[in-house]
């Protein structure tokens, strides 16, 4: 469904993503882990067609994310970092805008929009301007827009960031609910989220892929067991000062 093939991205002299490769199939939920600045968002932006790789290839549903961008993007639902949304629009009009841009209209659009708002648990706030909503509801509006067209691939950049514990549970439940029919990537730095929703985990740091396996394997790989210990051992291994403190 989704292929990242030796992706490389440079920002000036800094190599943000350095040869990251992985594939994702339907039914998988991939937890994309790494410290801040590891290259998670940059990798996701390349997969979403918002950034062109300097080397390697990104493909969605067999379509190249650069050469065949529109076809790749038609199969993708993307929640960008920070869940940007137009503050003067209501969640309903925001979701409808995305659907219209994808060629939806009439009853099919209304049905898709209603379902997305319901799944993102936004019903009561669907007609208020997004600018007046709390951070959690704003994020859910952006999430609704990402899932509305029922894409086979979902890329969600920190979908639970800034949500309260109940809202986090709600989003995790939604991801589990959609998991069987979709290929989903979620980036997070909340490690307890990984065993809760992900069937697979990838760790990247300094642009390089360090681990690719199940959350169980990840937990076993670290000293003393547990996802957190493994994460720390892996991402700090080449930085002894941070590791010691």
């Amino acid at each position: 469904m989704l292929v990242a093939d030796r992706l490389i991205k440079d920002f000036g002299p800094h190599r943000a993503v350095d040869g990251v490769s992985f594939t994702l199939e339907r039914g998988e939920v991939l937890g994309f882990l790494g410290p801040n600045g590891a290259g998670k968002t940059t990798t996701m932006r390349m997969l979403a067609g918002g950034l062109e790789p300097d080397g390697g290839k990104a493909m969605i549903g067999g379509h190249d994310c650069v050469a065949d961008r529109l076809e790749a993007q038609a199969r993708l639902g993307y929640l960008p970092e920070g869940a940007p949304a137009y503050p003067s629009m209501t969640p309903r009009s925001f979701v409808e805008f995305g659907l219209r841009a994808r060629g939806f209209s009439g009853a099919a659009m209304k049905r898709a929009c209603d379902l997305a708002l319901e799944r993102a648990r936004l019903e009561g706030f669907a007609s208020q301007p997004i600018g007046t909503l709390s951070k959690g509801y704003k994020r859910r509006a952006a999430l609704a827009a990402a899932i509305a067209h029922d894409p086979p691939v979902l890329i969600l950049d920190e979908p639970t960031d800034g949500l309260d514990p109940n809202q986090k549970d709600g989003v995790r439940a939604l991801i589990r609910e959609m998991a069987p029919e979709k290929a989903i990537i979620i980036s997070t730095h909340i490690l307890e989220e990984v065993p809760a929703v992900c069937s697979r985990a990838i760790i990247i740091a300094r642009g390089k892929l360090l681990f690719d396996g199940t959350p169980n394997e990840l937990a076993k790989s670290g000293p003393g067991g547990g996802v957190e210990n493994a994460f720390r051992a892996m991402t700090m291994a080449d930085n002894p000062v941070e590791a010691a403190s």
Partner: protein, 246 residues
């Protein structure tokens, strides 16, 4: 096409969901006749035409069109929504055209607000209505050119104030280029070729042709060409962002 229409619809709604369109229409609706009556001495000319209006409209458009255009891309960049827009399966030219047509629609509505003056001159005398109609067409095209240039410049920055200043500066230069004193000054100091080139850039010359009741091919090509080149420039500038500073 669905992408263009979706962007057009969203942009047009956005103008009216914020006070922007209303403030713009009110200022334009007030300023255009004010210029015509006070500066253009609409009644004192004793002529049944809209020259007092058309003579001053370009200067009003120089300031007001960039105000309408400045948000086009700068706001998307500032709010991060550009990331959302660029992840939609729509070509960039469709986004650029949708944004332009929405702003142009608001501008057209503002120009329509000066229609009472057209009715007034018909009531007071017997104007050349064909010339007034082409005058309005020229105004619409001039407004479109300033908007397209302003939107292209809006793609260079995430700051709307910077976008406005750049847009107004560009519109001012395009308008000034054809004024006799500018060309005279150039004629004394620059080669004839440069003077001719600057005169050819002048929006005012092409605009004035429409006021005389003439729809010249060269004038149409000038305005439509300027609009298309500017929209393409906006598309290139935004596409450049996918490169991430390569």
């Amino acid at each position: 096409m669905s992408g263009l229409l979706a962007v057009y619809r969203r942009e047009l709604t956005a103008y009216f969901q914020t006070p922007l369109a209303y403030v713009f229409l009110a200022v334009f609706g007030f300023a255009a006749p004010a210029f015509a009556f006070h500066v253009g001495r609409f009644f004192d000319t004793n002529r049944a035409d809209l020259a007092p209006l058309f003579d001053y409209l370009p200067w009003l458009l120089v300031v007001l069109m960039p105000a309408l255009a400045m948000r086009a891309w700068a706001e998307e960049r500032d709010r991060g929504t550009l990331e959302f827009l660029m992840a939609l399966p729509i070509p960039l030219w469709a986004s650029a055209a949708g944004k332009f047509l929405a702003a142009w629609s608001v501008a057209a509505l503002a120009i329509v607000l000066t229609f009472p003056m057209w009715i007034a001159v018909n009531y007071l005398g017997e104007p050349d209505n064909a010339a007034i109609a082409t005058g309005y067409l020229g105004t619409l095209l001039l407004a479109g050119a300033y908007l397209a240039v302003g939107q292209a410049l809006s793609a260079t920055t995430a700051n709307q104030v910077v976008a406005f200043v750049l847009g107004a500066g560009a519109a001012f230069l395009l308008t000034m280029a054809g004024l006799p004193f500018v060309l005279a000054a150039l004629g004394e100091n620059a080669p004839a070729l440069v003077t001719e080139f600057v005169a050819g850039l002048s929006a005012l010359d092409h605009y004035n042709a429409f006021q005389r009741g003439v729809i010249g091919l060269a004038d149409l090509v000038y305005f439509i060409g300027l609009i298309i080149v500017s929209l393409a420039l906006a598309g290139v500038l935004i596409a450049e962002r996918r490169g991430g500073g390569r």
